[in-house]
Each structure stands twice: as structure tokens, then as C-alpha cells.
Symmetry: C2
Subunit: 774 residues, 2 copies
Amino acid sequence: MNQNYIKPDSWSIIEEGFNTNRVESSESLFSIGNGAMGQRANFEEHYSGKTFQGSYIAGVYYPDKTRVGWWKNGYPEYFAKVLNAPNWIGINIEINGEQLDLFTCKKVENFRRELNMKAGWLSRSFKATLQNNIQIEVETKRFLSLDLDEVGAIQYVIKPVNGDATITFQPYLDSGITNKDTNWDDKFWDTLSVSQENNQAFIQAKTMKTDFHTCTFMESEVFVNGKPVSIQPKVNTDKQFVSFSYEHQIKKNDVYIIQKFGGYTVDRNHDKTKLVPAAKEVLKKAISLGFSGLLENQKQAWASIWEMADITIEGDVKAQQGIRFNIFQLNQTYLGKDSRLNIGPKGFTGEKYGGSTYWDTEAYCIPFYMATKDQQVAKSLLEYRYNHLEKAIENAEKNLGFKNGAALYPMVTMNGEECHNEWEITFEEIHRNGAIAFAIYNYYRYTNDYSYIPEKGLEVLIGIARFWQQRATFSKDKNKYVILGVTGPNEYENNVNNNFYTNYLAQWCINYTLENIQKIESEYASDYTRIMNKVKLSKAEMNTWKTVADAMYFPYSETHKVFLQQDGFLDKELVTVSELDNAQRPINQKWSWDRILRSPYIKQADTLQGFYLFEDAFTTQELERHFNFYEPFTVHESSLSPCIHSIQAAKLDKMEQAYAFYLRTSRLDLDDYNHEVHEGLHITSMAGTWMSIVEGFGGMRIKNNTLSFTPKIPKEWQGYSFKVNFRNRILKVTVSNNKTIFLLESGDDLEILVNNKAVLIKNKQLQTLNSISA
Amino acid sequence: MNQNYIKPDSWSIIEEGFNTNRVESSESLFSIGNGAMGQRANFEEHYSGKTFQGSYIAGVYYPDKTRVGWWKNGYPEYFAKVLNAPNWIGINIEINGEQLDLFTCKKVENFRRELNMKAGWLSRSFKATLQNNIQIEVETKRFLSLDLDEVGAIQYVIKPVNGDATITFQPYLDSGITNKDTNWDDKFWDTLSVSQENNQAFIQAKTMKTDFHTCTFMESEVFVNGKPVSIQPKVNTDKQFVSFSYEHQIKKNDVYIIQKFGGYTVDRNHDKTKLVPAAKEVLKKAISLGFSGLLENQKQAWASIWEMADITIEGDVKAQQGIRFNIFQLNQTYLGKDSRLNIGPKGFTGEKYGGSTYWDTEAYCIPFYMATKDQQVAKSLLEYRYNHLEKAIENAEKNLGFKNGAALYPMVTMNGEECHNEWEITFEEIHRNGAIAFAIYNYYRYTNDYSYIPEKGLEVLIGIARFWQQRATFSKDKNKYVILGVTGPNEYENNVNNNFYTNYLAQWCINYTLENIQKIESEYASDYTRIMNKVKLSKAEMNTWKTVADAMYFPYSETHKVFLQQDGFLDKELVTVSELDNAQRPINQKWSWDRILRSPYIKQADTLQGFYLFEDAFTTQELERHFNFYEPFTVHESSLSPCIHSIQAAKLDKMEQAYAFYLRTSRLDLDDYNHEVHEGLHITSMAGTWMSIVEGFGGMRIKNNTLSFTPKIPKEWQGYSFKVNFRNRILKVTVSNNKTIFLLESGDDLEILVNNKAVLIKNKQLQTLNSISA
């Protein structure tokens, strides 16, 4: 971990010095996105060293054929692949006939990269000495507009510093790309047309199989010392490529500048026959604003996001940088504007996890988006699953032989179909179904907006309840219902029986569904009739659900007074992580799979995840007992783990642990704890980082329909603040060592609980409380 | 199942009538082989319908790259692929310029195929009407010589029956082949040279990566009405192809005949630079014998195999055909001549199971080869594992982190390295290690030849004992040693804890190894010193083994008084197979994997497999209780299952079941029980068929170092007989309804047990006993 090359800074991610071994990691860390598209921080100019090219368009994927040694029934025919999209950022550069390539330059000095999170841009500067001994100074700036989300802009500035030079900018578009994870250099794009006129160029291409039509476009302008120059470019077009060459003689210390605007129009938003006109339209807007106008809008747009979402931390710049990086990346990935999209675990920063939606969305991301955006955003994310209900029913029916409208949501999906093909995940990691139900509950608990449940949510709940009832098995031996053959959140166990978390969720889902059916029957009669007509649910069926929920089995150790993660957990050799040789870690890179499986090591919170979701069902003493039992075996090799442990450690006043877990979750990628940042960032777990401050240190909960806080502060910090949008009130919470200040920035007066005491917060009046006393 | 198109016949497999849907299944069923090479029953002439081409050379494989969606540590980099080898059997045929192709003929009449098991040849005859209305009668005969095992011979006879015709035979060699299971039409062969002189042709080719060098060769002669004709053939050569065209005008009702000799010389047997001279040498021998001379030798060679290995059954021709088919195929696959080879589960009949050695060899094949061949053959099979011991140690060390010379043999191998890549098999189906130890014990038990153990076997046993000790985990909870995370023989369970069979084997392996160490210490002092110096085994280490073996845990149900297949078996919904809708079977083709895993259904004998191997450790009452408990849940979707159940049913006097299982095992492929015969035959389980007669009905055992029988007979049979080579005595056993006749055909007088009574069998004297009384 900790490559330690990212400079601590409260608002920026900064790298200084050029190191060819870090290029791929930096490409991930400096990624930019605007919810509609995103890209790794690849250089604009040619680079012959190790690099991982990636530009991604939201919602554009490819169903790659599943190849496994031994086919098992029910495997999906394909798995969705996040597709590397045509390259529009490329600008080849020639200086006196030599191509600029940082890998082959004689010298690269003063290399600096900055991702400015406050304003949403990426810049790079360096001084390079080419093989031909020409020295140039370069400054680039790039951003993807939040405002016009089909377009991005690049400014590339070159100053020759040891003599005059002939410089050529060759901006280009290239659809002759493929994926890094392609197995046999397969192509995934069909290029349909390449065209250009004046300074504009367009490549129309569609994805194979899925037929997503796109137009990749660009337009460029060049300047000398800030003044536009009119150069008739040389045009070069090929089957999957088009470029313009702007050659110019530049005097020593003069600057030659190109501003390139480019991006994608896609058939999710336009008629597929009108993608070029749409591209021209957005280019026109961008050009008329100009690079600086568009950049100004960018600053504004980010300012308004930060206004609501920022978290400040005083006295700990690394912690501050970490949380901002997390909030920034979440907003780069998903802004809640389009309910057809969702939040991919790697966002727009890599290819891995070939599918955009995991249970991460429901279990981790929804709380963040509920509290920092309009509640419509969270509702959109719920609707995404409602829209996939039919496919989830088909999945349970076709693959598992379930009947009667039981729904199994996919583990990984792009369009509602399962697109993962390890049996131990696809077929067995069924707890995802519970998280989807929990999100419905969580949305109502937080927003108090019940309308979603009679409108759509109940149908989802019914499908899920049906699944759990059918998935449970009556064990004569135990005289209880058991759930056999599952993988819990801890994926370092496969095919176990009676995973506590799964069984608990199953029981909860059934009870919660029954509770809502009752409520809707009495309070929403017409919805009730409509839904019951649709789902054909009898009292008898509901009774069978109830029978299963009431007699659900939970493995428990009388010796340890803890619920067991699964049957047989105590048969393991219970050697704690601290006794494990460091050379053996991370175990997923050092150990064979069987060894991991029979070890006691827990990849991520599992039983404790249950205690997190259903906190009120357990006493603090029970939580502490379980935390003390499981934490020592947890290796946190999933990005989704440390945040939960941080929240629980804070609750248990284990503030040193809480802080350590906070750093681990917030700087997971910045410090590369898991040795994999070059593959991309862990986006969805970043919402967990947010939770570890707001729910962990801030202690935010909803208790009996009331917003509640139990503020605590790590000793390393002087203070921290966050804001939440709670039921259309914007509440700012500022915590320091000896007090907590609440400011209701907008909305009606609000009674909250602070350390379990009711406090009335009045609009725009500061309310200062001693935060530490109970 | 039961396609019912194979005609019952005691010595031949016969198909009548041409059905294009059966071609691939028949290609499997009529496969021929001679231990060194083999081939599916592809037509010699061009066939444009659905066909599965396959010619295989023993020991020639390809390490195909492993591709899995999610890599797990320790996965082998490659899996071995059984390679389709260059085609030498092809003979294209033209009749008046039209290519003969049974798929496009106007009419095919009197089609008949016969695999004559007594003499080891395959024939085909038919009358075809071509598109050009020419009618021909065809008769072909083909065999792979047992005598000269590098060569095969084909005779192809054509008679035009409705007019004169110009007929061309175009015998060819073709190395431009690939595998059916290739994913992207990859090529696996490099053709090095194509040459021809006179009527001979040669293609030298080597496998990619593995560099197995081969020369595929042919020589042909043509005849009219039995008289040689000298035709100067037209030669056609290409990069991977060579052919000769023998054109001749044939009068109506005259016959045109080609005799083609061909085959492979390989660098396992010759210097790779001398493969063409070696091919010429063997061709010279074959040609000088001529087709009929070679065929005569073939009959002799098979006669001598049958002399020892035949089993006769009176009054049940399907049962007779079944057992002969099984014995025939085993002998086609492996004759024990080369200790570098082993017995692939599909033999030379298909590509599936890309590796030649499974635990099938030790658990199923060794008893057959011990009893029907010289004991050296079984010893060879044991040595095969001894020769791979270093790789097994490396496997345990590198992949599982084991130390100290613990050995884990691969689940599937070609050269001692693991070449299977499902974690639940590769890493977890570790009971294979036990079968390898058991085979050492079994060899000694049957042959009384102890020499192998001090020479080589003990080192293998020590590596295996070390493995089990390290693989077991001490459970504080149970105060016992447990074995976590395994897949037992029943592959319809994965990653279970305390599989009874595995735990029992582990305990047995340790105890057996300790017993042998003690014996060798006291009786083979110099071997003892040599081995201990090599393996560095301390008394302390042996004590840790003993601790594990003594405290091994076995899951047991007090309610049912049975050992449980694994922890938690009783949590399943125990619905028997008979209650299962037939439309749901075979479950491995109808159900998703999770559903199979959480069902109680057993793919193949698992706990009962343990009772089979360690029969003497349990009472007959215990066996009966376990049989009655597990049999109802067993779906026998592994070819290795029915034979074990047949043996146990016979022992328990459940003769109807024993007979039904016998038919299932013996006619598994002939009647295609598992809907997969088109992929190839199940060779290794055929040894189980032999066991179900000899050990099942015949009740053959070794009891206290004495050969023992308890003969029984299914009511469907009038009698049956088999022969065994027991310690250099050839004993023929003939069982009928009211008596059993023993004839010691050669060797010293022998005291045996019949129904637990001692009987002295004298050389060449018939001994007749009432077989049914106890």
C-alpha cells in the first residue's frame, strides 16, 4: 500500500515528478468524469510506455461471450463488459519532426499533475528535452463539462525554450480501439462512417451485438501567444481514424496553443440517425462559450455540488483530501440525472467488474445520494430495480426453477439480466436481494416519502419475499428453516449453510413485506387491489412466508455468545489476522482459493454488516461482542469493509480503530491499500467513506422517525463538518472537540436528537451543543 | 437413454440402417484403438453431414491456455487438451466425377456397421445411389493393429451395380485439422514437411508448445476383382495435405478395391529426426504381411486377450454384449505396455476430459488390469504416480503453502502437473490422494508382491500422509480434527466440511503409512534408511500424524445410525429420486448448479464408495443401513456410480437392484443413459462393470490373504463365467443357477474361500460347488 506519491492537499490530487512505473496508477487516480462519460487520465499525446487506455460512455456495454471450462446450467450466456470507447482526447505532437513521447524523451523535468476537485479539471505540466535536443515547456488542462455533458475540452500549451521550433498539433479521433481485457484482441466497435468538414470531425460507430450508436466528435482551434491563428490543417482520414494537422513555426519562448473540444453523442439521448447534427449542436454551444467560458461554468457547477456535499476536516490534510476525493469521484460517476443509469463499482476509471450495478448501489450509495442530492435521485435508483423486476422474476424462474413471481435480482447487471458467471457468486450470493428490499425501507425511513412503496416498491418486495420463502428449506433435523448453499457478503466463503446475514435478511424481508401489505391494504385500498390483481398473492401464500420467517434458523454459539457467520464457523482454526505473517497478505494475492476458504479470514463485514443494517435489533453490548469476535479475523480485502467497521468502532468508542478504518476507506485508492489502483478506482465504496464520517463520527441515524446524532471526533482532528438534506431541510453539522454546531440552512424548524436528547433546530439559527456528553 | 439402435449380439456391435442423426453417436460407439492410438468411427470418404472428427495418439496433448472470468490463485496456467491428430484414414472417392458423400446420396440402402470385438475390426457396408444415378455397393473394413501398434489398415471395396463406372480412390493425409473443443479455431499442430514417393506419403508435424513430433504416413495398393493393378497415381500435395488419385474404369459388378495402410510414428518411441525412416520400416512390415496377414494377426492378438479377459453370460445377450463391449474398450485404450501412458476417461473416443489421468485409474481400473493382465501392468500404473511424486509435492507447496514434502496429486494430469481449473475440483476434490494410496495397498493385497512398497510406494504414502495431516484442522469446538472445504466423489456438493469419505480415507492413509513404515523399518532396514534419509521424517512428525488420525471427526446421525456424507447433510430437503419428476432428469442438464448443490441428490457413490473400499471395517448391517439411506438419493449421473451400487446390492442380496445397476453400468454408452455418447465413451467406468460381475455377482474378495468368492446370479441369467489371474494362477469361475465350477487353468494348487468355506482348487481339476448355500 501507500505509494506515497500523492501530495497531501486539501482540494487537489497532486503528483510531482515523472515515474514511468506510476503511469497506470495515476491514470486511475486522476480520472475525470461527468456522469455521462468519463476517462482515465491518459496523456493526450502519444505515449509508448505502459499505459491503460480508457474512455467510457455511461450505459454503453458489450455482452462478451462467457467462456468457462465446464459449463453449468443457468450460467448467463454472456457477461457485460464495460467498453473502452473511441478516443477523442488524442493530440499527437511533433516538434521539428520528432514525435513528443514522454517515454522516449531525453529528459522530463518539473512534471506535475493536478486533479483540481474544487473546479473539476485535470492539468499537467512538464519540461521535456526531446531526442533532437529541443526543449519545450508544456501545460495542459482538461475537463468534462458538467454543464454540457456530451462535451469535454482540452487546452494544450507548448513553449519551446531553447530555440525556435516547428510544432504540429495533430488532434484526432480513433475508433480502432479495443479493451484491455479482451482475450483475443476482439473488436467491439463497428465504425460506420468517418467524416470531417472545416475544423470538425465525426466518427459514427456502433457497438457490436448491443448496437449502441455513438458519434465521437471534435473541433479544434489553435492560438499563438493567446491570439487565434488560422491554419488550413492537413486532413488525414482512414477507416477508423481522422486527424487534422496544424503545423506552425514557433519562436523561442512563444507559446503555441490548441483548444480541442470533443466528446460523444449517443442514441440513448438522440435519434441514432441524428447523432452528427446533435454533435454539431453541442460543439456550437461549446465553441461559443469558448474554453474559458466552459471552464468557468465548470467551476460553478462543481461549486454547487460542493455547496451541498462537501465535508471539511480540520487539522488532518490527508483525511480531508481523502473524503473530498471520495465525494468528488462519486459525483463524477453518477449525478442522478438519468434513471437508466446506475453506479458502476469502477465508475469511468477502469474495465474491471464488467457490469454497472451491484448491491453496492443499495447498500452503500443510496444513503450518500439521499443526503446530498434531491430525494428524486435515490428514488431513481430504486426505480432502476423496479424496472428490472420482470427480468428478476424470469431469472428465478428460468434458472432456479422458482415459481409464482419469485424474483432473484442479478448480482451484476447492465440491463436487468445477470452478467456474472461464477456459480458461487451468480447463483449463491443471493443476499443482494435483501439489500434491494432494505433500500426501499431505508428510503422511506430517511425521506418519510411512503408513496414509492404502494406505487412500485411493494411489487419488488413481494417478488423478493417470495424468493426467500422458496429458497429456504425446512430442516427436519433442526425443526427450523435453513438457507443452504450461499455466499454471504464475505466472499472468502462459498457455498455455506445458514449464513447469519443472509438468513437474517431473508426473515426481515418477509416480515417487512407482510407489514407493508397490511399497511397498504388498510391505507391505500386502490393500490392494494391493483397490486394484488397483478401479483396474485393469496393469504395462504402469505402464511407460508410467515411460517418460514418465524422459524428461521440462526447459527449461534453459546460459548462465545455470538451469532455464527455460518454453520461450522467454529470448526476453523481461529488464528487472528494480527498473528498472520504480513508476507502472506493480501491473502487473495498470496493464497490459493481453498486455503482462503477454509481459513477464518473475512474479506468484508458479514455478520457485522447485518448489525450495521439492523442496528436497532441488537443491543450495544451485543454489537460489541460481535465486533470483538469478528474484527480480529477481518482482512478488509474488499473495499466495502472498512467503512462499516469504522462506523461500528465509533459507536463503540473505539476511536483509534474508527480512525484507522476511516483512513483505510477514504484513502484506499490514494494509498493503494490493495495493490490494484492501476486497474481503476473503487467508486461505490467511496459512499461508505461518506457514511463513516456522517454515520460513524457524526452518529447520524433516524430514530423513531427523528434525525439523530451522537457526534464524536477522532483525536487527530480539530473539527469536521458535513451537511445533509433531510426531508427538504439543509442541515449543516460542525463538530469540534468540545462542541457541535447545528445550522439549519434552509427548511422548516426541525426537532432532532443529539445524544438521545431532543433539540429543536430553528431555521438559520446556530445551535451549539456540547457534543461529547451523553 | 436407450436409443435402441444397437442390435443385440454377443460378439459384435451392430447398427443397421443409415440415420444422419446417429452419426456422431455411432462414431463414438464404433471407435477403435490399440493402446497406442485410436480413432472415432469416422467415415473414410467425405461426409458433409454432422460429424465429429477424431484421431488420437496416446500421450500427445496440448496445454491450452486457461481462461476464466475471475482468476484465483493457484489455478493452473493451462489445461491439457486431448488433441485431434492428423487424419490418415481419409479416402475420397469419385464415381464418374461425383464425390461419394452419404449425406447427399439419393439413397442409402442396406447400411450396416459392425464392430467385431472378437477380432478387433470395424466394418461398414451399404448400397448407395448417387445423384448421377450410379448405384454402388460398398464394403469397408478397418482395424488398428495390436501387433504393429503404429499401423492401421483399411480395405475399401466398391462394386458398381447398375453400369460401368469410372472410380477414383483418393487416399490422403491431412494435418490441417483442429479440435472440436477449440474456442477460436486455434490450430494446435505445426506441419513441418509433406513428402511422398511411389505409393507412400508422409507428413511430419509437431504439436505447438508441447513439441510432440509425429510422422503421419500412408501407403496404398489397388486391386480389381482381387488382382493388383498398377496405376500411376496423380499426386496432389499442399502445405498440410497430400493425396494420391487412383482412377480406374470398372465394369458393372466388378469390384475395385483399395487397401490403405497408415498410422503414426512418434518421438516417444523414435528419435524425432528418424520418424520417416521408422514409418517406412513399419509400412514395409505391414505391406509384406498384407491386409489379410495383418488381419489374421489381429484376430490372434485379440484371441489371446479374450482368452484371459472374457466374461461370458448365458441367456442375456444384452448383458453379454455390454460386458464384452466394456472389456473390449478397456483393452483398446490401455494395454499396459508403456508406463508413461495411462487411461484417459474417454480413451481414444473423444476430446472431453482434457487430461489422461484421473483417480479413476486407481479406484476403478487397477483391479481390472490386475486380474486380467500380468501384474506388471498394475505395477506400471502405480509407478506412473511415483514418477510424478516430485510434481505433487511442488503442487502442495506452491499452491497450498504446504511444507515438508506433503504431496497433493493433481485431479487431472498428463505429465504430473494439474491441468484442471475449477477451484472446487482442482483445490478441493482431494480424495484423489487417498485413492492413490489405496491402490498401493490394493496391489499388495491382490498380488502379495510387497516389493513395490519399500522400493517406491512408501515415498508416495509418506507424501500423502503428510498432506492429510497438514490439510486437517483442529476444531476446538468439536475437540476433533476436521477436514474443511472439500468436494467428495459426489461432485454435486462443493466446498463441504467433513465429507465422510474424505475424512475416512485421510485417517486410513495415515494409519496405513505408519504401519508400513514400521514394517519396513523392521523388515527392510536398508530401504528404511535410504527412504528416511530422503524424506527426512522424524518420530515427532509421525506422532503429529497419529494425533490427527486418532482424533479424526466423522459426522454421524444418531437418528438414522448412519455416517453423514458431510456436515449438515440432514438439513437438506430429503426427497428421494423416485419422487422426482422424470422431466427434471438428468438434473445436471435441467437444474442450475445452486439447485443441484442444495438438493440431497448424489451424483455418484460417496459414503458408499468408502464402504466399498473399506468393506471389512463395517458390518453387513451397517452397509445395509447406509445403502438403504443413500441409494434413494443417488442419481448416478456419474459413470462411476452404478457399478459400486451393483456390487453392494449383490452383497446385500438385493439382486434386482444389482442387475439393474449392472445393466446401467455395462450398457451406459450402448444405451446412452446420460445423453452424451456422441461426445465419446466412458472408458474408465467400464472397469467398474467388470468389478460388478467379478466382485458383485462373483463376490470375489481377498480375505486374510486368501482369494474368496460368494457367487450369486441374477435371475435373468442362466450362467456366467470369468477368469482371473491371481498370483500367477489362472482361475476360471463358472457360475450357474445351482452350482459354481472352479477350474485352475494354470499355476499351483490354490486354497480359496467359497461362501466363507475353505476349498482347495487343484491344477486343471474341475471343482464343482453348490454356489448358493452359505
